[in-house]
């Protein structure tokens, strides 16, 4: 395998890892505050639909982005209402959101566009186009460094760069700010936070809103960056892979980056059976590569590679003692 092929595989990896990364960080913020969220998939799907639909109608991807994020935040609000205010079961609320999004998107799409649950194809300003970083053409002649710059770092849509910048940002907010400390405490020991005079309910709602925002970006990227339009069920399980990545990352932002890239890399490899065959000289079936993220997560959960300990108060609604 030559260097260029490696770059191409890594390029695909970056594209496929981005939606996972957004969703994984969304889950991270939420779960760190003590709210389990398996509705990542549904929020992503709703956002994918609304961003594509509004971008198709308005012709502007930015208005589409706003609509997608708003749809996702609205669903997050529903999750918050059910699981924080009414202290319902967080898993059930998440499942409900997934079903709601899956049915609602197709229904509305059919009503608005009459194309069998899809939106019209987006073009021009209605989608995020690839950004060429400065000097990419100039440097592409340079072996290795220049090639990497031109192939791997340049030529992605804006949201990819936003996604990767979100990692240090999340790390800084969660581990270096007062808000982050309180957020983590709300997920470990909400009573202590409450005793210190901080409003747990408000903290958790803030976390859920951030989760909605990040999930929204994941959906927007799917429909307007990676593809040019919405197709029913187009998130196809990425929200669940992100959850697996979150466990794999042990609820840490930098680990999340690593695990999403790893999962993206397996997917990218499954598209290139020729490369796998050339490197390993084995005929590895693509299905095995597709399944690897899940297998790895099970291995991690079984405690073979360190221990994945979720936030202690996760999944428990906070009830103030009288």
């Amino acid at each position: 395998m030559d260097f260029l092929t490696l770059l191409q595989v890594l390029d695909t990896t970056v594209r496929l890892a981005t939606p996972l990364l957004f969703a994984c960080l969304a889950g991270l913020v939420c779960e760190r505050a003590g709210i389990f969220d398996i509705g990542l998939e549904g929020k992503m799907l709703a956002s994918a639909f609304f961003s594509a639909a509004v971008a198709a109608i308005s012709g502007s991807v930015w208005i589409g982005l706003l609509a997608g994020v708003m749809a996702s935040v609205a669903l997050a609000g529903v999750h918050g209402l059910a699981s924080i205010t009414f202290r319902g079961n967080q898993l059930i609320s998440g499942v409900a959101i997934n079903f709601l999004a899956s049915g609602l998107t197709v229904l509305i799409a059919q009503d608005w566009f009459g194309q069998g649950g899809r939106t019209p194809s987006l073009s021009g300003g209605a989608r995020f186009n690839e950004i060429k970083l400065p000097f990419a053409d100039l440097l592409s002649g340079l072996p290795y460094i220049g090639q990497s710059y031109a192939e791997l770092f340049s030529g992605h849509s804006l949201l990819v760069y936003v996604g990767f910048l979100t990692v240090p940002l999340t790390w800084w907010v969660i581990f270096r700010t007062r808000f982050g400390l309180r957020l983590r405490a709300a997920g470990e020991n909400p009573e202590a936070v409450d005793t210190a005079g901080v409003n747990v309910i408000r903290l958790r709602y803030t976390a859920i809103a951030i989760c909605g925002l990040l999930c929204g970006l994941a959906g927007v990227y799917l429909a307007t960056g990676l593809q040019a339009g919405f197709v029913k069920e187009m998130s196809s399980g990425r929200g669940f892979i992100a959850l697996a990545a979150l466990i794999f990352a042990k609820w840490r932002p930098w680990y999340a980056l690593f695990s999403c890239l790893l999962f993206g890399f397996f997917q990218a490899l499954s598209f290139r059976p020729d490369v796998v065959k050339a490197v390993t000289s084995l005929d590895v079936p693509g299905q095995l590569l597709d399944a690897l993220p899940y297998i790895l997560t099970v291995v991690i959960l079984a405690g073979f590679v360190g221990k994945a300990i979720p936030p202690r108060a996760g999944g428990e609604p906070y009830v103030k003692e009288n």
Binding site: L226, Q227, G229
Partner: protein, 331 residues
Amino acid sequence: MTFMQKTLGGAAALAIGATACLAEPALMYDLGGKFDKSFNESAYNGAKRWAEETGNSYREIEVTAEAQRVQFATRLAEAGFNPVVVLGFQNAATVEEVAPKYPDTSFVLIDMVVDLPNVRSVVFQEHEGSYLVGMLAAMATESNTVGFIGGMDVPLIRHFGCGYAQGAKAVNPDITVIANMTGTTPAAWNDPVKGGELTKAQISQGADVIYAAAGGTGVGVLQAAADADVLSIGVDSNQNHLHPGQVLTSMIKRVDNAVFNAFSDGAGLETGIVSMGLPDEGVGYALDEHNAPLISDEMKAAVDDAREKIIAGEIEVVSYFTNDSCPAHEF
């Protein structure tokens, strides 16, 4: 049939059959959906054309989950629709189960063969149509590499890919054919993101003409190819208009004609196996104003010549189904 089934069937019949007069035809779409811009949509166009020409109405129903297949087919037959046209190879088992229970209803199964007295099985010679677009691909490529992206990895889709590879190799025996399947579950018909990424992967392997036989996933393939400025080939319906000037051609499979004929023949239609191929234009390649600049006169002449030779039996395109393997490409 148990009492329970009868009651349920009756209720369903009342629910959807309230307006059904004598022997209206019905059409059951497969997963992928009515507007997949491909297989199902072609059937829809045939049904629509029939309704417009005759002024009659028909009933249609869209399968959205595996479990609904038998349920929906039973419902249609129970409600008195005749003939019942069922789309897709995955419905062979459905028809095998439902047709014997309704011997007075005629069933039409498209894309697979079921040997029952009240079933007409329509099969297409897709390998011959794919052979022709494979030739066009081989003549259009500049990198000597052409790609094929299938939907779900099933023999029918390999059948498409096999004809394509044979056509490409007939033009240039040294050509490289890259083939990928989107997945192994029915979700593979509806994953444009994966289709798009597979396309980019094939382009980075040098492919500059890519044939998508993947239902709704194909939309992503055509989009990614158009974005990267390489040529693509559509399937089933004429998809040339999706990206004018960037879709080389489409392998047309006249599912619409099969549906139109079934509806026109009406109840009690002639059963047995109907094969649609090149002679009756059941399959072919699309040429219209959107791709006319891409197809040179030489290409057209070569393909039309091959078409005549296949019909005359001078060129034999091997079917993947003959012995479940392909002479031109290993899947």
